[in-house]
Amino acid sequence: MDNLLATLNLVTCFPLLGVLVLVLLPKGRETAMRWTALVTSLVTFGLSLLMLVQFQSSNPDLQLVVRVPWIQVAGWNIDYFLGVDGLSILLVLLTTLLTPISLVSTWDAIQERVKEFLVFFLLLEVGMVGVFLAQDLFLFYIFWEFTLVPMYFLIGIWGGERRMYAAIKFFLYTMAGSILMLLAILWLGINGGSFSVPDLIAQGGIPANIQMWLFLAFAAAFAIKVPMWPLHSWLPDAHVEAPTAGSVILAGVLLKMGTYGFLRFNIPLFPQAAVQAAPWVALLGVIGILYGAAVSYPQRDIKKLVAYSSVSHLGFVMLGLFALNEQGVQGSLLQMVNHGISTGALFLIVGMIYERRHTRAMDAFGGLWKVMPVYAVLTLIVTLSSMGLPGLNGFVGEFAILLGAFGSETLGSALFASFGALGVILAAIYMLQMFQKMFLGPLDKSENEGLADLNWREVATLAPLLVLIFWIGLYPKPFFDLMGPSVDKVLAIVQTAAVALP
């Protein structure tokens, strides 16, 4: 019984209780449904804070472990195995924080099929938290694939005009990557005798030539999810068509599942292959940074701009991860959180103006500062955070990543960091250009004159994110402290493996 009510079980499964209540609520009680979902997600957030309290940041190992034999017959050795460590705790918190925020943001925007929307949203939360907590490859795969289904419905039912195309493209792209990972997982399970990630890492000993294949199979799944250039083409479609809350979760959490996968599985399970592949992955990361920035600039649709900027930001994360040193990996992990906060906020901001004007074309606006001052100031802060202004969160992550990439022995060249740094400048150009077009200049469109400024609900959705933007920007130490020991542990594995390389 203790086991059943373990903290991690509760964090993962509590939303299911909300789903159950939602299913039982009769049609027509939309407000009650919204409150049910919101309260559920807030309780889940509270439970994740409980997890944070119980977490010992000095301990690099998995904590609060729940491990129950699940399928232990016929040579199968599968456990229901949850655990949290420095690699995942921030991402779990990010997930449980963004979910209630997204739910509040949809309060007025979603009027059709409310019950289904909320059910899918809570199911999505279960899947996302499960992905970050699962420590058994089989369980992980189940959660990983499971996130696809609710997101597919969120895009496909409540999305924009080309929603069906975007939904199926999202589904097929992601599934294409994960089927190869499935075979690699099976290989590990057959040859390692277990699907438990810590056990497999401890065993090690995968022959070098096979390591590379397995690395590639896992990388296929994660690189599509990140998305790394050139596998990114599903992302703009999915983002543009998804409803606001879907975009927030997609950018804020789902993309992180890819980068997290590299850190949790690819690097420690196949350390030699990771060292060998590092320059190539970093190269793709740098191309992603520059490509994403270059494509963002000419976009006239704000949402598309934000979507492409994600390709650029996630390029930074990949560059930092495969610098394979402390600054790089820590910076990447923090940047995952930063991107979730900043880009999540940006999508919320885009959603707010879209609800008012039903357009996202940059040219339809101009001089908004005069009619919507609160909105303008908040947007400015988020924009600056996203482009990495010192004192705000984006700077800390990007700086650490570039520092790591400069000093990386694995990458062996400062060129990666040099070209990557260009991305910071480009981000300033395209972000500020967007801000200028929307908010500065004369208020020359008559439709914009009567726009109402943000209401308290909208401010409330952005407020927690703004607090974090400043907090991480000014005093990031607590965040680094949480992840430090676990990151060191992964890097120690990589170093041992690198020594063995010819």
Binding site: G75, F138, G156, A167, I168, F171, I179, L182, L186, I190
Partner: protein, 482 residues
């Protein structure tokens, strides 16, 4: 003798129910045919209970002609479940299509007894007998909607090609008999061990048996009859047939090749491997183009035959054989539950004169009947092989056996074709959830119950497969005759 009868009790229960029901049905008035359905279902249920007791046993009956073991018991459960659900799907359908004849249920029972005999066959002659007992009632059932043209066409095609396939099988059996001097599976093993090398006559026979059974399980290139037959036959019978007849074919395929011809695995292994690869690929690719749900599910059933066929080349490796058979059995059960449920949804939407069968007719189902649409989502996900469904676990198990046998490329073909299949299965989901429409749907207790139970079972076995795994793998190990 009494021991023989006791061992084959499940089969006898079904067979005697069929015979008794033939007589009882005569006194049941035409507007009370629900009783026939109920009695048939009870007969199957009784056999199911008895079968469960046979799961762990391993014995012979009738002088070694029949093998009563975990393998046959597991498959019997699949057949009986398919039969019970098949009755649940049929009752309301037959009434509303004005096909209400009690013979439907009686023929169903006869066909099931053929399937059960097939799973227990330890002699090639019994395999043939069982195949005919299985098939002939199905030929009749395909034409049950006569005088509808499509139904008649379906029955005719099924009969002609089925007879053709039987011809192959009999010829193959004759050649194997000629080469080894016996038709018993055990005796064949002994004869092959003494003979040492394989003669051309033997190889010819083995190949012909593979072809004959390939027709029955609908492996490409022996699949051409499937789309037309499935399209024309009444939907409930197609649901039953696509599960039961396929499982019956695989029962014979697995048993004969693994128990009797393991020494020839070097020859039939690669053959089966190519057959599996081509079947998966063609079934899935052709399904993309279908606009009619029955034809789509027909091609999907071809594709799934390809997946299950992967177990055969994997089983060619003796170290993996037990696991491969276990995986095939698990997959057959998972597929049975999923596919029967999916056909249940088809039955609910089909209207007279073949209306309501286009995939577009499913538009708006999610709003009209949320529960039914959700069940269909579960079935489609399970057919695609996505968690948390039984279909995923089945594929996971199968792919493991394939990888254990070092057939990496076959596994890659398997997963890539699964990706292809996602496209057309998801299209059904898209239409149900994302396109507006006013579908006409039947709601009836037996039908709803069948769909709900299969959907729940698909989910439960997707999350808690361990007990079933244990049964299947144990049954897999028992496929080798003592």
């Amino acid at each position: 003798m009494s021991q023989d009868l006791l061992a084959t009790l499940p089969l006898l229960v079904v067979l005697s129910s069929a015979i008794l029901l033939t007589l009882v049905d005569l006194v049941i008035p035409a507007d009370r045919k629900g009783w026939t359905a109920l009695l048939a279902a009870l007969g199957l249920l009784a056999a199911l209970v008895v079968s469960l007791g046979n799961l762990g046993t391993q014995q012979q009956a009738f002088g070694g002609m029949l093998a009563v073991d975990g393998f046959s018991a597991f498959l019997n459960i699949v057949f009986l479940l398919a039969g019970i659900v098949g009755i649940g799907l049929a009752y309301d359908y037959l009434r509303r299509m004005e096909l209400l004849h009690g013979e439907y249920y009686i023929l169903l029972l006869f066909s099931i007894s053929g399937m059960m005999l097939m799973a227990q066959a330890a002699d090639l002659i019994v395999v043939f007998l069982a195949l005919e007992l299985l098939s002939i009632p199905l030929y009749v059932l395909s034409g049950f909607a006569s005088p509808r043209r499509e139904s008649q066409e379906s029955a005719m095609k099924y009969f002609l090609l089925g007879a053709f396939a039987s011809g192959f099988l009999v010829y193959g059996i004759a050649l194997v008999y000629g080469a080894t001097g016996s038709s018993g599976l055990r005796e064949i093993v002994t004869a092959l061990a003494q003979a040492g090398s394989a003669t051309p006559m033997l190889m010819m026979g083995v190949t012909m048996i593979l072809v004959g059974l390939g027709f029955k399980v609908a492996a490409v290139p022996f699949h051409m009859w499937i789309p037309d037959v499935y399209h024309g036959a009444p939907s409930p019978i197609v649901g039953f047939m696509s599960v039961g007849a396929k499982a019956g074919g695989f029962a014979a395929l697995l048993r004969v090749f693994i128990a009797a011809f393991p020494s020839l695995a070097g020859a039939w292994g690669p053959l089966a491997m190519w057959l599996a690869a081509i079947t998966m690929t063609w079934g899935n690719v052709a399904a993309i183009a279908q606009r009619n749900i029955k034809r789509m599910l027909a091609y999907s059933s071809i594709a799934h035959a390809g997946y299950i066929l992967m177990a055969l080349p994997a089983a060619a490796d003796p170290a993996v054989a037990g696991d491969a058979v276990g995986a095939a059995l698990f997959y057959l059960l998972a597929y049975a539950l999923t596919n029967l449920g999916a056909w249940g949804v088809v039955v609910a939407l089909e209207r007279r004169e073949g209306q309501g069968l286009a995939i577009e007719d499913y538009a708006g189902l999610a709003e009209r009947r949320p529960g039914l649409a959700l069940a269909m989502v579960v079935f489609m996900l399970s057919l695609t092989g996505l968690p948390p469904t039984a279909g995923f676990i089945g594929k996971f198990y199968l792919f493991r056996a394939v990888l254990q046998a070092d057939l990496v490329w076959l596994a890659i073909v398997g997963v890539v074709t699964s990706l292809v299949s996602a496209y057309y299965y998801l299209r059904v989901v898209i239409v149900m959830y994302m396109q507006p429409g006013e579908p006409e749907v039947r709601s009836e207790a037996w039908l709803n119950g069948s769909v709900a139970i299969t959907a729940l079972a698909t989910l439960i076995f997707g999350l808690l497969p361990a007990p079933l795994f244990a049964l299947a793998s144990q049954a897999g190990l028992l496929a080798f005759l003592p």
